[in-house]
């Protein structure tokens, strides 16, 4: 059984003359336990696709099956529950809560699913931030903030990590560091990862590369030998 199965998925914004078709009749299957990259230029519908997969938005038409569950038929409450327990999000702009420190940001997420503060701390150790746990987002560098964001996403042990250009706002070295963390999580915990990027180079670290253009799937290819983050350059 696939992790996700998308059938005739479409998403439109606006109406009339200002209608934008962000996704057009997308059919896609994403298997379990893979590191998948969604590759596309700006405006190709990558983030829209990710939002649909994460129950962050509803499609205009079509169906998304998570396993065999139709998440497009979920009620608002079920969607919230799905995001809380199943999905871990990593955003390009980190989106940490500025009023909470690193540990508290992670705890905010773990507490909701009934995990202990130790789980939150463990996640921060895993992303290499054990010495910065009491720092507030304003006191952390971009890379550190992104690692807190990853810790927040993985601490609740989600089935899927949805990453929306997490290296987009980072310099090369920090970006590599973030990719290594994600790869390590994928390897050690077997978490399925969906990674959005516009970088052909970053796509080389993935198991599967889904190419998107103007809201349509152009190709789905498998990398025979995915590269390690240290092997890529952009």
């Amino acid at each position: 059984m696939n992790l996700y199965t998308l059938k005739a998925l479409s998403k439109n914004y606006g109406e009339g003359d200002s209608l934008v078709r962000a996704l057009r009749d997308v059919y896609l299957e994403i298997p379990h336990g893979r590191f998948a990259v969604v590759l596309g230029a700006s405006g190709s519908g990558k983030s829209t696709l990710l939002n649909m997969l994460g129950c962050m938005d509803r499609p205009t038409a079509g169906q998304i099956l998570f396993g065999d569950a139709d998440i497009t038929a979920y009620s608002k409450r079920e969607m919230t529950q799905f995001r809380k327990t199943t999905i871990g999000f990593v955003f390009q702009s980190y989106n940490l809560l500025p009023d909470l420190n690193a540990l508290e940001n992670v705890e905010f997420s773990t507490e909701m699913v009934g995990l202990s503060p130790a789980d939150a701390e463990r996640a921060l150790v895993q992303v290499g931030l054990s010495d910065r746990i009491k720092h507030f987002p304003g006191q952390l560098s971009g890379g550190e903030q992104q690692r807190v964001s990853i810790a927040r996403a993985i601490a609740k042990q989600p089935k899927v990590l949805l990453c929306d250009e997490p290296t987009g706002a980072l310099d090369f070295e920090t970006g590599i560091m973030v990719l290594e963390v994600l790869k390590q999580i994928h390897r050690e915990q077997g978490t399925s990862i969906l990674f959005i990027t516009h970088s052909q180079e970053i796509a080389k670290i993935a198991d599967i590369v889904i190419r998107l253009r103007s809201g349509e799937i152009m190709s789905v290819t498998e990398n025979e030998r995915p590269l390690e983050p240290r092997e890529v350059e952009w």
């Binding site: 829209t48 939002n51 994460g54 962050m56 938005d57 509803r58 409450r77 919230t80 529950q81 995001r83 809380k84 327990t85 999000f89 955003f91 702009s93 989106n95 809560l97 009023d99 909470l100 508290e104 705890e107 905010f108 997420s109 507490e111 909701m112 699913v113 927040r152």
Partner: protein
């Protein structure tokens, strides 16, 4: 419950601290105002009732001339527990009237502050208020009708909780009127009054009065002392409600605007909460807790402030009421209710403001917002004018109208404080106007002489000493179960500003009474069982009375005798009246006496008005500060960017001040109108059967209210300048870019 959520909430509160403090201050002032006045109202009510009960305030009093048989008849009546006979006599000594009251066991017993109650005819107990006013102490000697009485006790009385001398003098001057409690042996045989305790209906009591030949039967609830006391308590209660109502409206407005603004600024963050799986209920909790917490702290502190203020305010009221043992009382239910209402108001407003974030999906909230589209303002269409004004002014004009919520909030804040100030100052004006219109325009006599009834054709010796006078008969007229003074006047009567000619074929009544009874000229009224015609309506603000002519009274009133018992005197030497009153044994009151009585009543109200003025200023400052702060923090980035572009602080401030001026131009007139409206609503609460307040606001009050609001806005502009100067351009831009 999720610990992190509360941690987040309290950190957010720390972030919004200045605004929250401003709003909490509003809640404190509103709650303190209400709790102070309501506590005073409850305390007076409770303590006075306690006094009435413990001192045996008579349930029914009969006035007339009685003997022991009459007393026995009353005592044996079913429902009467106890009855006593007593005498009451006003003894005039120059300017001072001392009312000698015979002591009666267990009924109308004076409350002892100091000393003992008189045991023989050489001793007396004096009403403490009068003793204080004249510096009389225990052991001093009082001379009454040539007798020397030693003051053995200083007392309060259930009959003089409200220091009322008679129907005309609403509040007697304590230095000129006092009550002396004496042993019954002070008086001759017989009784002038029978006082009784018991459960007896008004009709039964009145029938009993007829049986014993009473001139008048008055139930406890109709005693002037109690009626006026209740009316004043009602006014305090009205004040307690009116002002906090305005505070509540402003709090609702500020909480609404603040949360709306926060939500609009934190839209992305709310999207993140949702993306992480935060439910709507928890989302609501994040935003509602701040308001609820503020309401709890504000409400509680308001109650504490009230407890500190109560004794002082009660001290001010003591010139009006004499209720022993009165001090601040803690009413847990009142405190609880006030805090609950504060929580409900703030929380409900928060819910209304937050509800908009429940529907959108997280992705929608996290999407970058489009810059708000610029709109042309009306003035821009007047291109000729628009082009001629400077860029700075054009920017200020557009900025003022750019954000409707903030614009309305600032406008309402300024308008609200201006309205409260106008109302409070207008209240002073109304009292003065009412006094002037009554004493300068309505009243055309200098003194009112009260006599024993005399036939109209007989001349009273005092009239030989009066330059101008007019006789009249004052009768009690019972209309709709209440008693009013009916003046029967002569055809040539011109001592009051009334249409005397209208009295020929009916009664003329005051506008207030006409409204209360819903009658107008030409309608009829029932005085007891007699139907009378209303032949005119006139305006009178003080001592509401009815007027008719001797001819009409003879025509419609059964057993009417053409007597007179008052003389209105004009151009009279008051000094001579004093001597004559002693020689000829009559009572009199001058216009000055009435003015002083009125001034005493207003003095107590002035305390409330000053309290209200202080609150209005605090309110104005708080609202303007809070809204100004919101406005400023919303514009900080813009100002910082103007700084980056090289715009000097002076120009930024100039635009900021122009905005404030424009808001003031719109808010002040609206505030004046609103203030006048509030005054008109409140004045009805201050009008009763004995006094009608006319709403009037003098032009200088509008000017003062306007100046105070402008000064407050100026202070806030100074604070804003301080903050604008301190803006860190680089840090600010960094924050924004995140």
């Amino acid at each position: 419950m999720n610990k992190s959520i509360f941690r987040l909430i309290f950190r957010k509160m720390r972030h919004n601290l200045p605004q929250l403090i401003g709003m909490t201050l509003l809640v404190i002032v509103g709650a303190a105002f209400f709790v102070t006045l309501y506590t005073i109202y409850l305390s007076y009510d409770r303590q006075a009732n306690h006094l009435f009960e413990t001192q045996g305030y008579a349930d029914v009093t009969y006035y007339g001339s009685f003997d022991s048989n009459d007393l026995a008849v009353v005592a044996q009546k079913e429902g009467i527990r106890q009855a006593r006979g007593r005498n009451v006599r006003d003894i005039r000594d120059g300017d001072i009237t001392l009312r000698a009251v015979g002591l009666t066991d267990d009924i109308n017993t004076p409350y002892l502050y100091e000393g003992v109650l008189p045991e023989d005819s050489t001793q007396c107990a004096l009403l403490s208020k009068h003793a204080r006013a004249r510096g009389i102490g225990l052991g001093d000697i009082l001379r009454l009708e040539g007798r020397r009485l030693k003051v053995c006790g200083l007392v309060a009385s259930p009959e003089y909780v409200y220091m009322v001398q008679n129907e005309r003098a609403m509040m007697a001057q304590p230095e000129r009127f006092g009550v002396v409690f004496v042993n019954e042996s002070f008086f001759e045989e017989g009784y002038g009054e029978i006082v009784a305790l018991g459960d007896i209906g008004k009709d039964v009591a009145e029938d009993l009065g007829v049986t014993i030949g009473a001139v008048k039967t008055v139930m406890q609830s109709d005693q002037l002392n109690k009626v006026l006391f209740r009316e004043d308590l009602k006014q305090i209660r009205t004040f307690a409600y009116v002002f906090p109502l305005i505070f509540a409206l402003l709090i609702i407005m500020i909480v609404y605007v603040m949360i709306k603004r926060t939500i609009s600024m934190e839209g992305r963050q709310i999207g993140v909460y949702k993306a992480l799986g935060v439910t709507d209920a928890r989302l609501l909790l994040i935003y509602i807790t701040q308001s609820a917490f503020m309401a709890i702290v504000g409400g509680l502190l308001g109650c504490v402030v009230a407890s500190l203020l109560c004794d002082t305010i009660i001290g001010f009221f003591s010139s009006m009421f004499e209720v022993p043992g009165l001090a601040f009382t803690f009413y847990p239910t009142l405190w609880g209710s006030v805090i609950l209402v504060c929580i409900l108001i703030c929380s409900f407003t928060a819910i209304i403001s937050v509800r908009g974030v429940f529907m959108p999906m997280p992705a929608e909230l996290m999407r970058s917002r489009m810059p708000s589209g610029g709109k042309q303002i009306l003035m821009e269409r007047a291109t000729f004018l628009w082009r001629r004004i400077s860029f700075n002014t054009r920017y200020a004009l557009k900025s003022t109208l750019r954000n409707k919520g903030r614009f309305v909030a600032v406008l309402l804040g300024m308008c609200g404080s201006c309205a409260l100030l106008t109302f409070a100052l207008g209240f002073f004006n109304s009292a003065e106007y009412t006094q002037n219109s009554y004493f300068d325009d309505f009243v055309h006599y200098d003194a009112l002489i009260e006599l024993s009834p005399m036939p109209l054709e007989m001349e009273h010796p005092v009239e030989q000493h009066l330059d101008e006078s007019s006789r009249a008969l004052v009768l009690p007229a019972v209309i709709r179960e209440k008693e009013y003074p009916l003046f029967v006047v002569q055809d040539s009567f011109d001592m009051l500003q009334i249409d005397t000619w209208r009295t020929k074929d009916g009664l003329i009544i005051t506008e207030y009474l006409a409204q209360q009874w819903k009658v107008s000229e030409g309608d009829s009224l029932m005085i007891g069982d007699t139907e009378v015609r209303v032949s005119g309506v006139f305006k009178q603000s003080f001592g509401l009375s009815l007027y008719t002519s001797y001819d009409y009274a003879s025509e419609v009133l059964s057993d009417f005798k053409p007597f007179y018992n008052v003389i209105f005197a004009r151009d009279t030497d008051v000094g001579e009246l004093k001597t004559l009153s002693r020689e000829q044994g009559f009572e009199y009151a001058t216009q000055e006496d009435d003015k002083r009585s009125f001034a005493s009543v207003m003095e107590s109200l002035n305390t409330l008005i000053w309290f209200m003025l202080a609150c209005a200023v605090i309110l104005g400052l708080t609202v303007l500060y809070t809204v100004g702060l919101m406005n400023l923090s919303a514009r900080e980035y813009e100002y910082m960017f103007m700084g980056v572009m090289g715009y000097p602080i002076k120009s930024i401030m100039s635009a900021h001040i122009k905005e404030t001026v424009m808001q003031l131009v719109l808010a002040l007139p609206a505030g004046f109108v609103l203030g006048y409206g509030i005054l008109n609503v409140v004045k009805t609460a201050f009008s009763g059967d004995s006094f009608v307040l006319s709403a009037a606001i003098y032009p200088e009050s509008y000017v003062y209210a306007g100046i105070i609001v402008i000064v407050m806005a100026g202070l806030i502009a100074l604070v804003s300048r301080f903050r604008i100067v301190r803006l860190d351009i680089v840090e600010g831009l960094k924050v924004r870019s995140e």
